[in-house]
Amino acid sequence: MIFLDCAATSLQKPPAVARAVSEALRTAASPGRGSYAAAERAAELVYQCRSEAAGLFGVSDPERVVLTHSATHALNLALRSLGAGGGRVVLSGWEHNAVTRTLADLPLEQDVVAAPLFRPEELVEGFRRRLEGAAFAVCTQVSNVFGYVLPLSDIAALCREAGVPLVVDASQGAGCLPLNLEALGAQYAALPGHKGLYGPQGTGLLLCAPEARPAALLTGGTGSESLLQTMPDFLPDRLEPGTHNVCGAAGLLAGLRFVKRTGCGSILRHEQTLRRRMAQLLSNVEGIRLFESPDPALQTGVLSLTVQDVDCEALGERLGRMGVCVRAGLHCAPLAHQSAGTLDSGTLRLSFSAFNRASELAPAAEALRRCVEALRSGARG
């Protein structure tokens, strides 16, 4: 199997992640619920996970690192906290449904900054024109479809200047691009644990600014202020009712330590190298369109493509049967496809992680070439 769907989840994890999950399953109970060794062990794992994330992502207080089920969960917390009162929200044209569906569920006017793919200056200019009077802004760090690295620092600077709270969707950037919540001055950042941070599925993080006052999405027991029938007004308890995913936190902690040890820059360079080599190998497939940035720094290890007269879903399905795992279609991001002009066709997406090897590229490219030929000959026949 060649796994090239790392933008969906990083299937291949550092071995320490599985070991940590297994050990937590055997030895850790529930944090904040008892004074015995297994509860203390759980509490320590969860706190270490928060502390490691706080250190990596520029949060000076681990209490403001909230453990969530996913980045989607984290985005719901952030967007519903800021958007419940209505108003106008400014967002990039590269947002995922985790953002746009949540915004659509709120009494908000969505003001989309439409700018062409890999043209960051135009995106920044669009934000500059729209921020005045906005309730808040949302920007993804990287497009999940095209690997496009958005000009987040510039957009964050504009938000600071305009006094507009910013929500960062770091789903595709966390683990390969630097992210410092407090340096950006962002109000919230949402991160999945299971993609570039190499933790297990079912983990995510919400990073909160000191001034953030998030509303509880769920209510229930927190192991604190139990006499009160309202949720605690402090973090992380306010947003973390119920039993924690301790095994997930243990695995995520191991993943975070892997990223810290390896270095975001090193991971990014590896993934970009694989993406560029793959693009070279595929460049002579007849009718192929590769979505590559002229400036390599503007693209992570995600490569989207279309092939003329070949349905991307059929191509993805056939590749899957040959053991090459990719993602086809709209990638839960119709807005991004609309921005790129690929809403009708969708794309086939190849995405790399720290665990992909250069030796996987040629077989995967050859498989894609054969699939295209087979689909074309089938169509002709």
Partner: protein, 83 residues
Amino acid sequence: MFYLIVCRGLTQAQRAAAVLERSGVNQRILRTPSQVSERGCSYSVKIAHKSLNTALSALRRAGLSPTQIFLAQSDGSYREAVL
């Protein structure tokens, strides 16, 4: 004789304990005794009587403000410390 530094939640207690450890203060996290827990469950950091000033300075530098501080009495009761 020891002090209990009452924290609003477990994570704050863990953070306080980490700060104190870095400052060389021996400490232990424990559940706040029910006789001093006004809102139900909470966590406290237990420190030796002699460590109070060092502990408070370290917590202040870290921007941590405990909810309350109690001094354990010889009869097992607690008296709130007025700082």
